[in-house]
Amino acid sequence: MIYDFFYNLTGSVIISGTVVALLPLFAFILPFALFAVLLERKVAGHMQDRLGPMRVGYHGILQTVADIIKLIQKEDIIAKDNDKLFFNIAPVLTFAGSYAAFAVIPFSSIFLGADIDLGIFYVIAVTGLVVAGILMAGWASNNKYSLLGAMRSAAQIVSYEIPTILIVLSIVMLTGTMSLYDLSENQTAYFWNWNIFGGPNLDIQKFLLIPFMLIGFIIIYISTLAEVNRTPFDIPEAESELVSGYHTEYSGMKFAMFFLAEYANMFAVSAILVILFFGGYQSPLGYLGNTLNIPWLIPIEQFFWFIFKGIFFVFVQMWLRWTLPRLRVDQLMTASWKYLIPIAFVNLLIIGVISLI
């Protein structure tokens, strides 16, 4: 584990703890957010027969850096009637919620903040903080559009957590563990051992599970999409209806915090999906480190595979965003309560029965 590595290096609990806590932020989230924003704009551009940012650097690779510099320089506007306390806390809370999830995400077999037994449970719990942040932002903005956005957001996230949890439950039921590290380790070796292909056991159960795993994956993908407020579920932001929803009144760094939280969240849910269904950091084709007999190469490869899979699902999120229209608020609830939750329930039951065989 990475903590032990730093502990052995420094011998201090505080230093190694701090390093481990900040490592995902600086080693991963910030570069990822910079990259993801650029990716989003490039993907959007090319899908729409445009080019996207082209001015800053080669094909605009430094565009997001320039944007961040611009955002830092911007005046921090707080309107007169805003609720100052909540207005200031909200972006921090939102970011904290999405950042806390990274504590238990295993980037590779050694790069893991904390291997707690209730990993997946913890992730679901802390991402709930994001709702509180958004509600606070909407309320404190003292803006009708923001408030509507925040209310919608709360209703949406609460109702979409249920199908997510039901699918997570079916996986937990099958594997018997809630630790994300154990979940990843279970699906080792080759890609047919991944949960989406029925898990590592080679028997009749595996083949029976494949269709239901697929259904489960689609459901959890849709509901996590809703949890991170991406199109077609971006009604809390709904640019063309609510202008920008809960972050209409924010500017400068506070807006950047929301922005960062959104992209961190996008990766966080993709990472959870990867861990639950696509073997976590495991390589689909075996490790180069094993064949070449270089043991230290394996964690690096694992890190690469994890990021690759995660970014692939982030890309699919973007792809969907630039393809689909947005649902209406009541249709969003319908989709969750009438379609996703019953199907997830039935799926859970069937997986339970299969696991008994």
């Binding site: 959007a44 899908m47 729409q48 027969d49 445009r50 009708k144 559009y145 509507l148 199109t231 077609p232 971006d234 009604i235 709904a238 640019e239 063309s240 209806e241 609510l242 202008v243 630039w322 393809t323 689909l324 229209p325 947005r326 649902l327 209406r328 608020v329 009541d330 249709q331």
Partner: protein, 371 residues
């Protein structure tokens, strides 16, 4: 225990991404349900009718362009027909054909904007840019013909400012050929998308009786199920020489006269316009386009109401002439102005998100509403 509740007044606009300009809608909300919509217009009022009283007849043409700036050719066409009727001029055949081609190209361009922005209102941004890509090609056609891309001043009283560019026919055929698959792609991406249908079908249903009583015209009226198109029913220019259908709403995805029907009628109309252009290009006669332009435009005393089918509906010009070189009074019956009145009727009982969907399907241009 009773909880005190009160209605919330929400101002949508004048600065809002989805009001298509500077329209302000005063929404009264019960939760997220609309109980009342009051449109406030006039933010873009440019005194068109007052200007007309001090200008000569040809000078008014650039001003008509600026009313419905997405369908400038149609505006000129309507005005010019009205003045020609007052003057009693017969224009050459070639001029009529070119005017029809231009008006139909403009109709496609205008509907592309309507469809694209409608998609953007619903949340799909990509179709918007695909539509603009195709519209750009139509604007290029206009540009080679008259030099301007948006406000043309091309159709003149008695003729046209320029003849067609030698390349025009070839480029138009090329455009038609390449536009047809794009239209199919647009249907795949947006029109038949389940989410889009859910958002628009059964939203803002406009029954035919109400539509006629409110004076609704154009694609909105046709979506409510009435086959009423001035190109056929009160034919002008050479439209009677072409074979085309009038698409009407059939309630395929929901009820007749819902937002989806209004949207889909526009898609179908683009196909019909392509048909008209194809026929017109084949039949276009030779001739001089500037021959019939009168040197001095001084209509006799009288008044005339003349109307054409603009992309947004019936565009009428009521011109009173007092025998001088400038009109005594010009009243424009702008289709968007009349169609916008229906907002309250359509929106009541729907959600805030539906206001966007309904407003987009009414397809207003504020330049025309406020004139």
């Amino acid at each position: 225990m009773s909880v005190r509740t009160e209605e919330m007044v929400l101002n949508m606009g004048p600065q809002h991404p989805s009001t298509h300009g500077v329209l302000r809608l005063e929404l009264t909300l019960d939760g997220e349900i609309i109980t009342k919509v009051v449109p406030h217009i006039g933010y873009l009022h440019r005194c068109f009718e007052k200007h007309c009283e001090v200008m000569t007849y040809p000078q008014i043409i650039p001003y008509t362009d600026r009313m419905d700036y997405l369908a400038a050719m149609g505006n000129e066409f309507g005005y010019v027909i009205a003045v020609e009727k007052l003057l009693g001029i017969q224009v050459p055949e070639r001029v009529e054909y070119i005017r029809v081609i231009m008006a139909e190209l403009q109709r496609i361009a205008s509907h592309l904007v309507a469809i694209g922005t409608y998609g953007a209102d619903i949340g799909a941004f990509t179709p918007f840019l695909y539509c603009f890509r195709d519209r750009e090609r139509i604007l290029n056609l206009f540009e080679i013909t008259c030099g301007a891309r948006l406000l043309y001043n091309y159709i003149w009283i008695g003729g046209l400012s320029h003849d067609l560019h030698p390349d025009f026919i070839r480029l138009t055929k090329e455009f038609i050929r390449e536009f047809k698959p794009n239209l199919k792609e647009l249907n795949n991406l947006l029109t038949f998308n389940k989410i889009f249908i859910d958002r628009t079908a059964n939203v803002g249903i406009l029954p035919l009786e109400t539509a006629i009583n409110f004076g609704i015209t154009g694609p909105m009226l046709r979506a409510s199920g009435l086959k009423w198109d001035l190109r056929k029913d009160d034919t002008y220019s050479v439209y009677n020489k072409f074979d085309f259908n009038i698409p009407v709403g059939d309630g395929r995805m929901g009820t007749v006269g819902d937002s989806w029907d209004r949207y889909f009628v526009r898609v179908l109309e683009m196909e019909e316009s392509l048909k008209i252009i194809e026929q017109a290009i084949e039949q276009i006669p030779d001739g001089d386009v500037t021959a019939a332009i009168p040197k001095r435009i001084k209509p006799p005393v009288g008044h005339i109401y003349s109307r054409v089918e603009n992309p947004r509906g019936e565009l009428g010009y009521f011109i009173i002439s007092d025998g001088s070189t400038s009109p005594f009074r010009v009243k424009v019956r702008a289709p968007s102005f009349v169609n916008l009145q229906i907002m309250d009727e359509l929106c009541r009982g729907h959600l805030v998100a539906d206001v966007i969907a309904i407003l987009g399907s009414v397809d207003i241009v504020l330049g025309e509403v406020d004139r």
